[in-house]
């Protein structure tokens, strides 16, 4: 199934030169908004909105749990400025049309991505689950629980991780970690998402 891309500015999911951008077909039955304002169109199979740290509801509005249409949120997971991963997190609302989810999923999978579906929560799946772990690891570092290299090695050897939490958070940019974690903290008030001191320092230095 073909797709049309409407883009304004950089996309975190599909950086300039990404092969996915080249296959945009004007007038296709699926529309992707990359930084452009949402234009609803019920005649389309699916209208997709690229998300950053915000919820899909910010773009569509909400209706006491009855929201949902052919508009689907999505983001391609990316650790900071690392190259984007093959994972597409698609975001549904309570009444999102199953046909829209299936159409979008089929389109992404045909383009070689792995697709998962989640509800409309800040951080989606990956950031909701990993950001507290990065905050913990950064706090442990401050508390002298273990050296950074040892902590990473413990996770790699003990859990089979490809990289450790400290190296991953640092490589992904601690200021970016601050933004992502803080967005979920503001949305939920859960202290696990309060950015660790080292992330706050990085953010302050970025803002200087």
């Amino acid at each position: 199934m073909g797709y049309e891309i409407k883009q304004n500015g950089d996309s975190r999911s599909f950086p300039a030169g990404d092969a996915f951008l080249a296959d945009s077909i004007p007038g296709a039955d699926i529309v992707l908004h990359l930084g452009t304002p949402l234009e609803t169109d019920a005649s389309k199979a699916a209208v997709l909105v690229e998300l950053d740290t915000e919820c899909l509801g910010v773009h569509t509005g909400e209706d006491s749990g009855r929201e949902g249409s052919n508009v689907v949120g999505f983001a391609r997971y990316r650790n900071g400025n690392d190259a984007p991963s093959p994972l597409i997190e698609m975001v549904r609302q309570p009444e999102t049309l199953q046909t829209a989810i299936e159409a979008a999923k089929t389109m992404f999978e045909a383009a070689g991505f792995t697709v998962v579906v989640c509800s409309d929560q800040v951080g989606r799946i990956v950031d909701r689950l990993v950001r507290p772990k990065y905050n913990d690891a950064l706090r442990f570092l401050d508390e002298g629980l273990a050296r950074a290299d040892d902590m990473d090695l413990i996770c790699k050897m003990g859990l089979g991780y490809r990289d450790g939490p400290i190296e991953r958070a640092v490589r992904g940019d601690l200021a970016r970690h601050f933004d992502v974690s803080n967005a979920r903290y503001r949305a939920t008030g859960q202290i696990a998402y309060v950015p660790a001191r080292r992330a706050a320092v990085a953010k302050m230095r970025e803002d200087k």
């Binding site: 093959p86 994972l87 998962v116 689950l129 442990f140 508390e143 413990i154």
Partner: protein
Amino acid sequence: MSNEIKTVAICGAGGNMGAGIAIVAARAGFRTLAYDLSDTALARAYDQSAGFFAKSVARGKMTEEERDAALARLENTSDLNDLAQADLVIEAVFEQLDIKQNLFATLNEICPEHTIFASNTSTLSITEIASGCGREDRVVGMHFCLPAQMMKLIEMTAGINTSPETYAAASEFTKRAGQIPLQTKDKPGFVLNALLVPFNNDVIRAIEDDLATPEDIDTALKVALGYKMGPCDLLDLIGLDTQVRLCEAFYPTTNDARAATPPLLRRMVAAGRLGRKSGRGFFDYNTDKMFGG
């Protein structure tokens, strides 16, 4: 001091972790006393160890002579008094503070002065385990990872009263056993479980919140982060009842809300969905169907 360690005793050697540690010690050339209350469990563990060594021979990782020598170094006993021969005792018994404290206090009366006591605890404080045993300076944390016979990592931890000589000797033992010791502080869960127990609970709460299906959560973390195993699959492997016990050991010592047992976890255990061991957890191992979603 490290050269004095020739005989190693494993308490709880009838369990998976204890049996794995016994394999590590026997394989590395130490005379190994495998202690457990249950002779049946010890016999089963010995058979499993023999099977493991047979596979190692088949894979070219050890010769038949090395296998025979390792098995000859592995001695089962259900008499705690036999541990009087040990230079190092590693306990891998039930994860409960009073059980470990009582064991070390009893062993203090049995073992010679030089014997070092090591705890394989994954969540409890080494200082608290050592407290009152009578040789607090000769107690150290030595946390192996499952399966111990395969995993090289050991989290090494000194308690407040652990002497530098004890820590050094225990650390040297792990190196001679072919392991990689990494130092952590005496904090609940050390590094591994301090990160993993709350993370796994977060995953369970995300499922309870209808964030996504267990399958999609596992897929997301494997594809995005390169995890070899998704957290739901890992929880099913660990056992959901084990995760409850980890929470119950971890939460009271940390007061970390993320370490508290998630309600869904309790309900699943009550429903008999313990993971792979019961055939059903987040995933169904008989039909490949998934729980939740």
